[in-house]
């Protein structure tokens, strides 16, 4: 069998270096790797960059803890509750650099990263002021389709240093299964240079072999660490295992709006996972 990659949270944290670009699983209030993000906050990692498509709770925690120097996302929202409180404040106070992206382009960049190609063409977008911003950053370029000459945007490959993906089950080697919504998480697993899985259920080979007509969401070759973390997405939801705790999320929202996000995190998350 390949090397055993099972480790505890505090060892897995060491895979992340200061200044790394990270990406996380899920969307706003679903399948965020909260146990791991809590451990990052405790660890004192510094100057991380963050890239994701539609983050919410997980991103806000990191901005509140001032671990991030840069955020790239298509949307950062607390949906019904309001704007992502710490992200909004952090950007307006210039504490964190913010590069707004758009869903199709984030997916295109991750696809290029996953496929091992330098860029990916993507339709739409033209006319948006985002084009100017990204051309300046060097992340997009308007090119001509070599066959028809048509203008189209090329998105530079996105290959985050580390993808932290919370999912339903994996064996100790990193062969894993996501149930239900995938979002773009399987692309993140393929595009990232290193992959850390935090999992609800640690399973053995026999459990996986029972599902052997299905596609694996991750395989051992791509995975650096597997961390057993039941309830690791709390308070975000883990369909179909558990629902998001909207009451807790709303409470966090008001704490964060008042500049007390870290107090909430310490009280509610620090001792939740060991």
């Amino acid at each position: 069998m390949p090397p055993d990659k099972l480790m505890n949270l505090s060892d897995a944290i060491d895979i992340i270096n200061n200044d790394d670009e990270i990406t996380i699983s899920g969307i706003t209030f679903f399948r965020n790797p909260i146990s791991f993000l809590t451990a990052i906050i405790k660890s004192g990692k510094k100057r991380l960059s963050f890239i994701d498509r539609e983050p919410g709770f997980g991103l806000d925690m990191l901005v509140a803890a001032k671990l991030l120097k840069r955020v790239r996302a298509a949307m950062a929202t607390f949906e019904h509750f309001g704007l992502s409180p710490s992200v909004r404040k952090g950007v307006e106070k210039h504490e964190v650099e913010y590069l707004e992206d758009t869903c199709g382009a984030v997916v295109a960049g991750l696809r290029a990263g996953a496929q091992g190609i330098p860029f990916m063409p993507v339709r739409g977008i033209l006319g948006s002021d985002l084009v100017r911003i990204h051309e300046k950053k060097g992340t997009w370029k308007v090119i001509n389709d070599p066959f028809t000459g048509e203008e189209i945007i090329a998105v530079k490959a996105i290959e985050p240093d580390v993808a932290i993906i919370h999912l339903h089950m994996a064996d100790r080697y990193g062969n894993a299964v996501i149930l239900g919504p995938r979002y773009e998480d399987e692309l993140k697993i393929k595009a990232a240079k290193k992959v850390i899985l935090t999992v609800e259920k640690l399973v053995n080979e026999e459990d996986l072999r029972k599902r052997n007509l299905e596609l694996l969401s991750a395989n051992s070759y791509r995975v650096e660490a597997v961390v057993s973390s039941p309830n690791g997405a709390w308070p975000t939801g883990m369909y179909p295992y558990y629902r998001p705790q909207y009451k807790a999320i709303k409470e966090y929202y008001y704490y964060a709006k008042n500049g007390n996000a870290l107090e909430w995190i310490e009280t509610n998350l620090y001792k939740r996972w060991s």
Binding site: I27, T28, F29, F30, E54, A73, A74, M75, A76, T77, E79, H80, F81, L83, S84, V87, R88, V91, E92, H94, Y98, E100, D101, T102, C103, G104, A105, V107, V122, R123, G124, I125, L126, G127, S128, D129, L130, I133, G180, P181, R182, Y183, E184, L187, G237, Y239, P240, R243, P244, Y246, I249, K250
Partner: protein
């Protein structure tokens, strides 16, 4: 009893769904979700209901909104997972029929701003960001925008073009705006008032903008208040009234 503007908006948005449509919704979309529920449960429209939950749903028996529009517990009758990435590709091929997008600002050329109020580098307000709108706005066949009918929203020129309306207008792709007062269509001749909510005054409606000139259509329709059955269909999907907390009245 006149209906609440929120429910009128939902009715207005839902009325654009046709049989056979592929309709997709994003995050932070309680109002569109309820419009889809209205179209499905009350109008009995037979359409593909897809969204960020990635559940491929047809003809759901029931539906319930939550504070997240990505909550997979909202609908239980889906057949399997079709990824959002896949839906984006369908849109990229020009095959997506209908989507709803919100707007923090929208201007006469149907440009949408969901990025910043003020300057991009030094924003007065950092908004949540446009999500898929920059990408999908030039691609989806019919788009219905929802927003508050407010001078801060309906402007002459947006502070930042998150999504450009130019190609939609040039290519005559159906682009409508449903506010909590009226229905407006974007055309080559600018925004045109198509209908107002029952009980409102046309002049009130067209004057309460922040610079957006709204022309009168040859005929201005009236969107009538909801019947008890209509309201019941919407309420069945939002028994807790989350929709009224979205500040559309």
């Amino acid at each position: 009893m006149p209906s609440r503007p929120t429910d009128m908006m939902i009715k207005c948005l839902g009325s654009f769904i046709k049989d056979g449509d592929y309709v997709f919704h994003g995050l932070n979309s309680i109002i569109p979700q309820l419009a889809m529920a209205y179209a499905s449960l009350y109008l009995r429209k037979d359409f593909i209901w897809h969204g960020v939950t990635e559940q491929f749903m047809i003809d759901p028996k029931s539906f319930k909104v939550y504070p997240s529009s990505g909550d997979p517990n909202s609908g239980k009758d889906h057949l399997g997972i079709v990824t959002m990435v896949d839906a984006f590709d369908i849109a990229s091929k020009g095959l997506m029929d209908l989507m709803y997008f919100g707007a923090a600002q929208i201007d006469e050329e149907a440009n949408i701003n969901l990025s910043v109020i003020g300057d991009y580098e030094n924003p007065r307000v950092r908004l949540p960001g446009g999500a898929a709108v920059a990408y999908l706005y030039p691609l989806v066949k019919r788009i219905i925008i929802w927003s508050r009918h407010d001078p801060r929203v309906l402007v002459k020129k947006v502070d930042f073009i998150t999504a450009s309306g130019r190609r939609r207008i040039e290519n005559s792709m159906e682009t409508l705006l449903c506010t909590n007062k009226a229905l407006i269509e974007f055309t080559k001749d600018g925004p045109i008032l198509r209908a107002i909510f029952e009980g409102l005054d046309v002049n009130d409606v067209i004057s309460s903008t922040g610079g957006m000139r709204i022309n009168l259509g040859s005929e201005v329709g009236v969107i009538s208040s909801l019947s008890s059955n209509e309201l019941e269909a919407i309420t069945s999907a939002d028994p807790d009234g989350l929709r009224y907390e979205e500040n559309y009245g």
